[in-house]
């Protein structure tokens, strides 16, 4: 899992750690690595939010609350052969895929060397030179038909055993593109894993104002493929559901919809204020089930990590964030003239 190691360092794992009833395909080191990525994501996320308030990062859409779902879904796939279509809240998934903190920071600060769009686009948008992922747009749901096209290309080339995973939120599930993509993928039984991070809010609009059903997953039945809903704060549950889905897709079983129910701990973006539409109780409740705390507890209970291990993971993440921040801040903006390149093939 070299690609998943975004810190490039090993941290001590409690010596007593054992498989401890882990899902197939996960070992102790892998689980701790996932947690390490979650912590790094959280600290980087907090940092860029702060840098927005300092006037340095023009926009941030936070992944706080989505970390477990993102890291576990990536871990359940195979980045060496699978295709990833991400969306704008996918901080943790990108770290898990091997995008570096410095690269992400260059996105938020719009600095030279940003790999995905040379900082033309909002953070997390574009394509990555090392990782098979892309995200063209801010218009939610557009990535779903595109993902179906990626999977169709594999099918036409006879390239078997690859999964195209497309991430989207509950908000995007209301778009016509979502319906059209799932319908087409269902008809042709294409190898697409539809992964919905349902945080219950489309900006300010709660789920019950977005859909008359309780979950996005139930819609899969209407397209002729399975849909499962899991607790997105439980990385083991997300891993298992995503792994099962990927296995089924690789065995030519057609698309699967996995829905991870998560919380969006912060407002929609740095330009939003969720106290306008969420009650203090609601906010307090979700803070009480923060996936970072849930995961930390689970790892300690399973004796995969002890308090010292947790502490050193956090120290190491903090060091990496500070280091990446210093480097990103020192970088120049891309030249104004660079905007004139790449409109058409050169």
């Amino acid at each position: 899992m070299g690609k998943m190691n975004s810190t490039g360092r090993e941290t001590q794992i409690a010596s007593s750690a054992g498989p401890a009833g882990l899902p197939d395909g996960l070992d102790a080191a892998g689980v701790v690595e996932m947690y390490r990525t979650m912590i790094l994501s959280r600290m980087l996320d907090e940092r860029v939010w702060l840098m927005n308030r300092q006037g340095k990062a023009a926009i941030v859409a936070s992944a706080q609350g989505h970390e477990a779902a993102q890291v576990a879904s990536v871990r359940a796939l195979d980045p060496s052969r699978d295709h990833f279509l991400i969306y704008y809240r996918q901080f943790t998934a990108m770290l898990a895929l091997g995008v570096t903190p410095l690269e992400l920071l260059c996105g938020f600060l719009a600095k030279s060397g940003e790999p995905m769009s040379e900082a033309r686009q909002f953070p997390l948008h574009g394509s990555h030179p090392r990782v098979d992922l892309f995200s063209f747009s801010n218009v939610v749901g557009t990535q779903l038909p595109q993902a179906v096209g990626v999977a169709l290309a594999d099918r036409l080339r006879g390239d078997q055993g690859r999964v195209t995973i497309v991430y989207f939120g509950d908000g995007a599930a209301s778009q016509g593109d979502c319906h059209e993509a799932m319908n087409f993928a269902g008809i042709h039984r294409l190898p697409v894993l539809f992964f919905c991070e349902n945080n219950g809010y489309a900006t300010s609009v709660p789920l019950q104002r977005q859909m008359a059903v309780e979950s996005v997953a139930v819609r899969a039945a209407g397209y002729g493929f399975p849909g499962v809903s899991v607790d997105g704060r439980d990385m083991f549950a997300v891993y298992q559901a995503t792994k099962d889905a990927a296995d089924s897709i690789r065995a030519e079983g057609g698309p699967v919809l996995v829905e991870a129910k998560v919380d969006r701990l912060l407002p929609h973006t740095t330009d939003d204020d969720h106290t306008l539409y969420r009650s203090p109780d609601d906010i307090g409740q979700m803070r009480g089930r923060d996936p970072i705390d849930v995961t930390s507890r689970a790892l300690r209970e399973r004796r995969l990590m002890d308090e010292d291990g947790d502490k050193s993971i956090r120290q190491e993440a903090r060091r990496l964030v500070i280091e990446a921040t210093d480097r990103a801040e020192a970088l120049p903006y891309p030249d104004a003239e660079a905007m004139y390149r790449h409109l058409y093939a050169e």
Binding site: F136, T142, P145, A153, L343, E346
Partner: protein, 328 residues
């Protein structure tokens, strides 16, 4: 050389490219067993199989979105939008997504796709089978927009479009499909995207046009030549983005008069852009106003025949405008 109509030219171009390049495939409504509502893909399923000639649900946004996903993964899809009037549900995937796939990834992804769009009126198509859709598309940086008017150009330009690494919207005027016949080579050849062609030489004025209107303009040019000895130079733009400004300006500098003929409504249209370019680059060579022949600024276009004829530019309307401009 073979003689063929525009539809046969389109079919020929696609068939040749499908044979040459396994990455080329077709998706759209009724393109499979039916062979397309205009029969552009007639016989394709038999030759290339259902995997490469894909009948889609009636869902234009995903036709273009799926084509885009396949294109940025290395394929060369040809997406057919059955009628130009049906392109609006796909406009975000085309204008918002495909057009910016390269720019938004700083050159990392090729949206190497063609969107074929039968369009245009004068076919008793009413409000939803007659529209001209080029203005918004030609307005969009990142797209290429091609609008051929002859079989030779349709075939050579479509082969170029399929081989192009950027998204090309290929506008085929429905009325030219069977009406316009001409010579075209049987095998492979390409015509360059982005180059206009002078289809008739003349020194008295320049008429700039494209699509079906080229043929009406050529008829009008013959009328005024025979009756008054006015010799119009007729430029077929062929590509609407990028516009071949040099050919237009060179001609207008020689003739000193410019008339633009289009089937699309006038406001914020191709003609607006051509007029602006002439005003910018040939202002001191003009000895009269830049005029346009367009339909009235109303939705295209009534189904009832007298009203349809009222709406559509015609050879007579064009020759009238030529005479007016010459008499000024």
């Amino acid at each position: 050389m073979a003689t063929m109509n525009v539809l046969e030219a389109v079919r020929d171009a696609m068939r040749l490219e499908m044979r040459r390049d396994p990455n080329v495939f077709i998706l759209g409504e009724d393109v499979g067993a039916r062979g397309g509502v205009f029969l552009a893909t007639n016989g394709f399923v038999a030759e290339f199989g259902e995997q490469r000639v894909i009948d889609t649900p009636l869902a234009e946004s995903s036709i273009v979105g799926i084509a885009l996903g396949a294109a940025v993964s290395g394929m060369r899809p040809i997406a057919e939008i059955q009628f130009g009037d049906f392109i609006w549900p796909a406009i975000n995937q085309l204008v918002g997504e495909a057009a910016r796939a390269r720019y938004g990834t700083a050159g990392q992804r090729n949206a190497s796709m063609v969107v074929r769009v039968p369009h245009g009126g004068g076919v008793r198509g009413g409000l939803y089978h007659s529209q001209s859709v080029e203005a918004l598309l030609a307005h969009t940086p990142g797209l290429k927009v091609v609008a051929p008017s002859t079989p030779y150009d349709a075939k050579g330009l479509l082969i170029s479009a399929i081989r192009d690494d950027d998204p090309v919207v290929f506008l085929e005027h429905k009325r030219t499909y069977r009406l316009v016949r001409g010579e075209a080579p049987e095998g492979y050849y390409t015509e360059p995207i982005g180059r206009a062609e002078i289809k008739r030489r003349g020194e008295d004025l320049t008429v700039i046009t494209y699509g079906l209107m080229l043929h009406y303009t050529l008829q009008a040019a013959e009328q005024v030549s025979e009756s008054e000895g006015i010799e119009a130079e007729v430029i077929d733009l062929r590509t609407l983005r990028p516009l071949d400004v040099d050919t237009v300006i060179e001609s207008v500098r020689r003739t000193s008069k410019a008339l633009i003929v289009q089937e699309d409504t006038p406001v914020a249209s191709i003609g607006s852009e051509v007029a602006a370019v002439i005003a910018d680059r040939a202002f001191f060579d003009l000895d009269g106003p830049v005029r346009r022949v367009t339909p009235p600024d109303f939705p295209p276009m009534p189904y009832s025949p007298l009203q349809e004829a009222e709406y559509m530019p015609s050879p007579n309307k064009i020759s009238y405008a030529i005479r007016q401009l010459i008499d000024l």
